[in-house]
């Protein structure tokens, strides 16, 4: 047992914190024996799987960037490509359904990469016994969402698996877009001084799904915010141009996870003012009861943008002019130190770290 009051050498704490910093900075490893639900949650385990397994295996410079979409140039055409799978349960929920998500999720990954969505592929994995009306309804939802987002579905595939081998239906969509020349966006693009803009209130999609599962016997009028973000991205590109450094849609893991990812990728610190973050009162109430922080709850139609101070006000005004984004707000700024960390000024007046998610509060939300 350590003798009390024997102060250890002053340098030791520094040294240990140094070791931790180095360990944090290292590429995450994938060492688990089995895949578990945390690997799908978008937090530390997901990161370990991506950076420790996928990236080294595929060793492609496009993938190394770990953007929402990969960039490629074909005979002078600047394109972006992304793909996403959807396994949400239940497949229909207030404000949308798996079909809406399958279109908007992929469209939004293109939009926040600064690419105008052009075309989608559609793969369906259907469970034996799925009512045809459910399939019909989702196909109609997909068609309507694609029309609203201005994309064409140009190819597809269907598989059926035995009853019990899939949960009613899973969807995978791949999207192709044209990269917009007005800005060069990158997860490494954050610069100290940049302002952090948020396109609207947080946590609605995740809360809507949670309540739709009827596990809590809570009722509230909360709808998923699923929508195409291309008009939002387009407005920001128009207002800020080259001053726009990065955009991300805050899906799985919420705004907190996106901010952590980007702080790490850019080697900067982020300061968030909690009081400035818009939260719908019903979401705030449900989060309070369930003990969840809305900053970690998924969105399907909200983005975070990083804009140089020179154009931040114009960008915010443009954002607020987009229908549905009236609540957009500047929620914080980029700082140099401590690199890789997200700090929050709480509404109560204290400061704390907004950490990466370790566990999985709620599986299968998209």
């Amino acid at each position: 047992m350590t003798a009390p009051n024997t102060a250890p050498p002053a340098g030791r704490e520094e040294k240990i914190l140094g070791i931790i910093e180095t360990a944090r900075g290292k590429r995450a490893k994938f060492r688990d024996e089995h895949v578990n639900m945390a690997h799908g949650a978008g937090g530390k385990a997901t990161q370990g799987m991506i950076e420790g397994l996928f990236v080294p295996a595929f060793a492609s410079p496009g993938l190394e960037q770990l953007g929402d979409a990969g960039a490629l140039s074909v005979d002078g055409a600047e394109l972006a490509m992304t793909t996403d799978s959807f396994v949400v349960k239940p497949i229909r929920f207030p404000g949308g359904s798996i079909g809406d998500l399958a279109v908007n999720g992929t469209v939004n990954d293109l939009a926040v990469s600064g690419a105008q969505p052009l075309a989608l592929s559609l793969s369906l994995i259907l469970e034996e016994g799925l009512p045809a009306d459910d399939l019909r309804r989702e196909v109609e939802a997909i068609a309507a969402a694609a029309r609203a987002a201005g994309v064409e579905i140009i190819t597809g595939d269907t598989k059926v698996v035995e009853r019990g081998h899939a949960d009613s239906m899973y969807i995978c969509t791949t999207g192709l877009g044209r990269r917009d020349p007005r800005a060069t966006l990158s997860p490494q693009g954050l610069r100290p001084g940049d302002r952090v803009l948020l396109s609207g209130s947080v946590g609605e999609h995740g809360t809507a799904i949670m309540l739709a599962r009827d596990e809590f016997e809570l009722d509230a009028e909360i709808e998923s915010d699923t929508r195409s973000l291309w008009p939002v991205a387009d407005a920001l590109l128009g207002a800020a141009g080259e001053w726009l450094h990065c955009m991300r849609d805050a899906t799985r893991g919420g705004v907190a996870s996106v901010l952590n990812e980007l702080a790490r990728a850019s080697g900067v610190a982020l300061l968030v003012r909690e009081a400035a973050v818009p939260v719908h009162p019903a979401v705030a109430g449900a989060s309070e009861i369930l003990g969840i922080d809305p900053m970690y709850v998924a969105n399907e139609g909200k983005l975070v943008a990083f804009v140089a101070p020179e154009r931040a006000d114009e960008a915010l005004a443009a954002l607020r002019a987009v229908p549905g984004c009236e609540d957009a707000a500047e929620i914080g700024e980029v700082r140099a130190d401590p690199p890789g960390m997200v700090l929050v000024e709480t509404s109560f007046g204290g400061k704390r770290v907004m950490d990466q998610l370790v566990g999985d509060p709620l599986p299968r939300i998209c």
């Binding site: 931790i20 578990n36 945390a38 509404s347 007046g349 370790v358």
Partner: protein
Amino acid sequence: MRFVDEFRDAQLGQVLATEILGAVEAGRHYKVMEVCGGHTHSIYKYGVDDLLPANVELVHGPGCPVCVIPMGRVDDGIAIAEEPGVIFTCFGDMMRVPGSRGSLLEAKARGADIRMVYSPLDALRIAKQNPEREVVFFAIGFETTAPSTALTVKRARAEGVRNFSCMCNHVTIVPPLRALLDSPDLRLDGFIGPGHVSTVVGARPFEFIPADYGKPVVIAGFEPLDILHAIRMILAQLSDGRCEVENQYKRVVPWEGNPRALEAMAEVFELRPHFEWRGLGFISQSGLKLSDAYAEQDAELRFSVPGVRVADPKACQCGEVLKGVIKPWECKVFGTACTPERPIGTCMVSSEGACAAYYNFGRFAREKEVV
């Protein structure tokens, strides 16, 4: 949000922070333990410690029910979960706690049917929906959650749900506090008493702390103003030379507790002779099991469990961190062998644990001191 925002008023927080600054003696270092993990959570969530002077230090106590479950109990739980036909239910934050062969989350990935529930009643509902399966609820928590387990076990019996049983890991708050206070190297000046536990047991069980050990206790609520207020009250006791149990959380905690909840607990549970705590070792009469009258709903009797005690890793110094003897970074394995991703000791398990908090936020805390 009405009735919530009032207790999070930043201006009132500043007033209390200023009063606290005025109440501390220069040159004296104060260590106050918040016993309950719920307080630790609020302190981080609102940045309460950021409003305190540098010489008032909060020490995170043993009151995180997830962190204190020892490896052997996790192993026993996994053994039951892996029995054919069993649906094993537990609270979500229990899933990550490591046993000697990994966590429940990993057992789930290997094929065990392990489900997260939010209440023991959810587990009972699963039992009713799956009459051909055995449903086991892994019960954890202090006196806060024990009554709801007791009522669920009673309801299962009343409704004749025979496929529901309970693996009881409930613990009581007083014995570990006594164990901490008995430690000769303890360095604490006062306690923020556990608000939720006190709603059930009342304030009286904590009277031994001032009476026998000469330390003030203030039972507190969980809003940031409650916590600052409680610290202010502890400092006032110290500067007045008073030493007593005070109740800051009067709006919820009656001095005598909740007799009906205590009655249900007394009917369904009985004290184990001793129970092991991760990081603290065996503490006598600190754990609960189902009473003889409810023995047929005891999962440990219904299934065979290995019941093997797995020693805490030798290098782990959680006990000393909990007593406030050493800081997390002074532990031999901190940050090297023991990290939040691969925790060894209790304090690294939950994000509310002292070591996990220091691992994640330590650098930032250091910068605060420089400013």
